[in-house]
């Protein structure tokens, strides 16, 4: 089996309520299906509020799903008993965006890295201790850092600690939720390189969540583009960047700044602001901003279809094209 994680028709809805007491349902993750293959880096791209972080939390069972399944190495996480799920958690880990926010300010660096082993009672005291030292080395920190507290280290170092903690139990799968977005450029590269090296040496699989398209292009093997709780396009990274099919993906790419003064100036894609996620339109979610919207887009919600091998897109433009060409 090459699929490590299988997400099937996953939905996460929130009951929200304003201060005035009006109830509404937020479709944060809406009928999402995809697989993460062993040893790949699947990137999840989207703008703020598209549901990518909620999706990550739901996969990890940190957030209750509304419906759907998540299979990890063949086991349905949503159906597991609490104890079994806890045991399985050793194999999947998470790294967050804010390096300092992901460390308990009152726990020393050494203890933070040791905590996973304490929680799962792995090894003897001495073994845990030497593992802490090993992990510090693995992420490029000095053994002396173990005695420090989070406020005594920099953001880049804190992110290394968070990575070391995630690796403590030899996981197979790591969800990295915007792991470099709050770091400075020069530190970003260090962390991205570290993550790449660790994947190669430890055989890890990543679900990499990001909004920076340049970072994603550099770092991922496949890319899924999310919009308002849905995956609208999923393809191999090179293919997606070379030939984006969904109008939203095209607009995103057109909007990304190109770090080249000689590149021809492009007019930005005027696609307006993201509509209110509380009232998704009945048809395609992107219809209100789409330059190519057709009648059918207002009425029928497009499904994610494999229009070419390994290239999935949820857009009415493509099945039509295919039909007319065949």
């Amino acid at each position: 089996m090459t699929d490590l994680v299988v997400v099937e028709e996953l939905c996460t809805y929130f009951q929200v309520r304003g201060p005035t007491g009006r109830r509404a349902v937020l479709h944060a993750v809406d009928n999402v299906s995809f697989v993460v293959r062993r040893n790949e880096i699947l990137a999840l791209v989207g703008e703020s509020g598209c549901g990518k972080s909620t999706l990550a939390r739901t996969i990890l069972q940190l957030q209750k799903r509304t419906s759907g399944r998540v299979l990890f190495d063949g086991q349905d996480l949503t159906a597991l008993a609490a104890g079994e799920l806890r045991r399985l958690r050793r194999r999947m880990q998470v790294i967050f965006q804010h390096p300092h926010g992901s460390l308990d300010p009152r726990v020393s660096i050494g203890q933070a890295i040791r905590d996973p082993m304490d929680i799962h009672a792995v090894g003897t005291m001495d073994e845990r201790q030497s593992r802490v030292e090993e992990l510090l080395g693995l992420v490029g920190l000095h053994p002396d850092h173990a005695q420090r507290f989070p406020h005594q280290i920099s953001g880049g170092q804190a992110q290394r600690v968070a990575i070391a903690r995630a690796l403590a139990l030899h996981p197979d799968f790591i969800i990295a939720d915007e792991p470099v977005s709050s770091l400075d450029v020069s530190i970003q590269a260090q962390i991205l390189n570290l993550l790449a090296d660790l994947r190669a040496s430890l055989g890890l699989t990543y679900l990499f969540i990001a909004h920076n398209l340049a970072v994603v292009e550099h770092f991922s093997s496949r890319v899924a583009v999310m919009y308002l709780g849905r995956i609208v396009e999923l393809a191999i990274s090179d293919e997606l960047y070379a030939r984006p099919l969904h109008p939203y993906t095209q607009a995103l790419l057109a909007s990304a700044p190109v770090a080249d003064p000689d590149a021809p100036a492009r007019p930005p894609a005027y696609i307006g602001d993201v509509p209110n996620p509380l009232e998704p339109p009945p048809g395609c979610r992107f219809e209100s901003r789409c330059p190519m919207a057709m009648d059918i887009c207002r009425q029928v919600d497009p499904v994610l279809t494999e229009v070419e091998p390994e290239h999935w897109v949820a857009c009415h433009l493509y099945p039509i094209l295919q039909r007319s060409s065949t």
């Binding site: 020069s186 340049a214 970072v215 550099h218 770092f219 909007s255 990304a256 003064p261 602001d273």
Partner: protein
Amino acid sequence: MREPPLLEVEDLRVEFPTPKGSVRAADGVSFRVWPSEIVGLVGESGCGKSVTTLALMRLVRPPGRFSGRIVFKGRNLMALSEHEMRLLRGGEMAMIFQNPMTALDPVFTVGDQIAEVFQSHPQLRTGDVRTAAAAVLEQVRIPNPRAQLNAYPHQFSGGMAQRVMIGMGLAGRPSLLIADEPTTALDVSVQAQILDLLRAIREKLHTAVILITHDLAITAQLCDRIVVMYAGQVVEASPTRELFRAPRHPYTRGLLDSMPRLGHKRARLEQIPGQPPDLRALPVGCRFAPRCPRAEERCRTEEPVLVSSGDGRYVRCHFPLEAR
């Protein structure tokens, strides 16, 4: 560029007292801005780019102190009275901020806040303030401007709120607009629109812009020149094209190489080792020396100065890079 510069900053220092002596958040910053030019002020967090611009507006609040020479349109800003300075702010010099949602007062309508700019500057007195305010919103492409005057900031999206901020800045028909990370809090698609708006403003109104950012990619297509700051100092200043083509300071080169760039997939990013110094414990000599692959003994003992190489380029390095 024969005409005199619009803004000349020389040896600007901004200090904040701390228990262990004062910290120089900006230390001897010098640069110039010519009329209708877009200058990118680039650097990582804590490099002093934001305090520098606050000092330009004389908005550094006590206990912070600042000194140096700031000449704007031939007037020495350090010598102006507080009243004259106030008329300049929001008039010929405007500023917009990183997070438009926190930079707008939540309890007053947008129209009210725009009207204040007209009321505070006698030189801008127009007939009907509401009409003038609506025109401001129209200028930044906000649909249905007259109705939006009655809206409160929280009713706008981030991108629309940033347009409102820019509009307010333009109300005084400034010749210099300082934009402090204007798109950092916004999504990519909205960011592109805001940057395009800044470009259009320069074309139409000939407003010079200082764009403060940590993202070099943003500056590539927007800025005419780039000023790179590191640990409170300007380390390199250069026209954009030359800077991207042949950075002269090792830090600039490091930044360019460590940045993933769209359409240039590489097996591995170059990285600058270590991290920026703590301003409370600066190294002797060049501030970048501990992280610099080219550092020699001289770099660790003698602090380099910002020198011009004659072609409009400046670099603060003992051993500047030659063209690749």
